[in-house]
């Protein structure tokens, strides 16, 4: 059974068909990448899957359950998590607190017991703190735990967001252009982080522009152009697909590329 399945998803904004009739299926424990030129609808597709937009057509399935149109927090409770292209961190909280919030799904004290700060709440705080600390250690941010998140460098912010998303122990993690704005060293680290995630059993859906990262880390690649599916396959298959090359470079550019590669 596929851990995430999308069937003929469509949405239009005021006449512009942002995503049109897209279907894909993600198998468990894989890195599934979605690529495409600017404006292809990648982020819109992510927003559709993660419940931020409701599709006008089509279905989304998480495991065996139809989750089409469910609100984001309900999807999160079912094991779907995501990071954001423009970083949606809690900048006024500390680095550690950010990851602690990520543990929300696994916290069990009621609002009433929180108000009264019963012993269960102290225990919960401790558990959450410990889990968050080890989450930070995994992405190499343990030393910066008590700093306000807003004071971190950009590359660290990206790692923090991933740590926060991982803290909720998702089954599927959607990464929205995590390498955007990262230098080659940071992108290399990202590669490592993604691989270790997969080893821990998280299925990764990666939306990315950085082709090296995509080609290196993906098990399967789905290409979007103009809101529609252009191609899907392994890295090698997609790389040699002339339609894909054309979509990125244009007809003229791909002819140039063909000439360049002899």
């Amino acid at each position: 059974m596929k851990v995430l399945e999308v069937e003929r998803l469509s949405i239009a904004f005021g006449g512009v068909r942002a995503v049109s009739d897209v279907s894909l299926a993600v198998s468990s424990g894989l890195v599934f990448s979605i690529i495409g030129p600017n404006g292809a609808g990648k982020t819109t597709l992510l927003n559709l899957i993660s419940g931020i937009y409701a599709p006008q057509d089509g279905r989304v399935r998480l495991g065996s359950e139809d989750v089409t149109g469910l609100a984001p927090h309900l999807l999160a409770r079912r094991g779907l998590s995501r990071t954001f292209q423009n970083l949606q961190l809690f900048l006024r909280m500390t680095v550690l607190e950010n990851v602690m919030v990520g543990r929300h799904r696994h916290e069990s004290t009621s609002i009433l017991s929180n108000l009264l700060h019963l012993p269960s709440v102290s225990r919960q705080n401790l558990q959450t703190r410990e889990a968050a600390r080890s989450g930070l250690a995994r992405v190499g941010l343990a030393a910066k735990a008590e700093r306000p998140a807003g004071s971190l460098a950009f590359g660290d912010l990206r790692r923090l967001e991933i740590a926060r998303a991982l803290a909720s122990e998702p089954k599927v993690l959607l990464l929205d252009e995590p390498a955007a704005g990262c230098n080659p060293v940071e992108t290399e680290e990202l590669d490592g982080i993604i691989r270790s995630m997969v080893k821990d059993g998280v299925t990764v859906v990666l939306v990315e522009h950085d082709m090296r990262l995509v080609m290196n880390v993906s098990d399967r690649i789905h290409v979007l152009a103009n809101g529609r599916t252009l191609a899907e396959g392994t890295a090698a298959e997609v790389r040699s697909n002339s339609a894909v090359v054309e979509a990125y470079l244009g007809v003229h550019g791909s002819e140039e590329a063909a000439r360049a590669f002899g």
Binding site: Q88, V101, L115, H117, N125, T128
Partner: protein, 316 residues
């Protein structure tokens, strides 16, 4: 526990306030000051409620005096028309405020920014209009007399009694607030303040949490309103007026959004200063306006966080 741990304990501010509460009367030159103290603690309780909503959860309420009014008139109407003992009316008012906050909050809290601000403003004014118009129940624009509190046969009236009742209730309110802040709910509210969309993606039911804090803050204001009515033994509709709501927000802004002690500081400043500088009575509105403008332009974080930041800079 080491000295350091004691100072940093979650409830350390409570100890400080409790000490102040106990020792302050020793400084009072006359019993009149009990009244000022009572008013400060009562309004600090209300502004603490507003602070939870605005400072922590990042929402805005420009109509919170509406709940002040509901709590106040609950006591007045309960005693005069329903023959209920005042302590029951206080609870009744708090429940009614909570219920109204629950019903009104559901749709209103979906709004953001100036829409939320104006919607809450409208709510506050609506309450004031109802209280002014339904004269059969509320006594109309001239208000109602409120019989004093009687507990287990003991009459509790006058500034001295309400200094202690108000002060202790505020301390309890502080404890609950500080508990909430240092708990999963507190972190959740803080997260919602910083990024709603990220909060949702982590499984947080944003709408529900906003509603919960709105209801809690309404209850705080309602209890404060009930106390106010019992202290003054008189209540008029302007207890829930626009100016009152802005005063509450001003107390929060002054003291420091997100600072529990700041609620007390803000309330103290806005109540004590006009009393001391009686010439300012005439200029009260002008001063309030300048205070709100000044702090929102130049010192948005408020006094207590401002001092804390300055102290932090001095130490380094």
């Amino acid at each position: 526990m080491s000295m350091r741990a004691l100072l940093h304990h979650r409830l350390a501010p409570v100890a400080a306030i409790a000490v102040i509460l106990l020792l302050l009367p020793l400084l009072f030159p006359s019993t009149y000051y009990y009244r000022i103290g009572a008013l400060v603690f009562i309004f600090a309780l209300a502004s603490l409620g507003v602070n939870l909503l605005m400072g922590f959860a990042g929402q805005v309420s420009l109509g919170h005096a509406g709940f002040l009014g509901i709590g106040a008139y609950a006591v007045a109407i309960g005693a005069t028309h329903l023959g209920a003992p005042s302590w029951l009316s206080i609870l009744g008012g708090a429940s009614l405020s909570g219920l109204i906050a629950f019903i009104v909050g559901r749709p209103i809290l979906e709004l953001k920014g100036h829409y939320l601000a104006v919607a809450t403003l409208g709510f506050g004014l609506l309450v004031a209009i109802v209280l002014t118009n339904e004269a059969a129940w509320t006594g109309g624009p001239d208000g109602m007399l409120v019989p004093h509190l009687v507990l287990f046969g003991f009459p509790l009236r006058g500034s001295q009694a309400w200094y202690w009742i108000g002060g202790i209730t505020f301390v309890v309110g502080m404890v609950l607030a500080l508990n909430l802040i240092d708990s999963p709910t507190g972190r959740t509210l803080h997260a919602i303040h910083d990024s709603e969309v990220a909060s949702r993606m982590l499984g947080i039911d944003v709408a529900r949490h906003k509603l919960v804090i709105f209801v809690i803050s309404a209850i705080y204001a309602s209890v404060a309103g009930s106390y106010l009515a019992l202290l003054n033994e008189l209540i008029t509709p302007d207890v829930s007026g626009f100016l009152r709501s802005i005063e509450l927000v001003a107390m929060v802004v002054l003291g420091g959004m997100g600072s529990v002690i700041g609620s007390l500081v803000g309330a103290a400043l806005l109540i004590v200063l006009p009393q001391i500088l009686t010439i300012l009575q005439e200029y009260e509105q002008m001063v309030l306006g300048i205070v709100v403008m000044g702090f929102m332009i130049f010192l948005r974080q408020g006094i207590v966080p401002g001092i804390a930041a300055a102290l932090g800079r001095m130490r380094t």
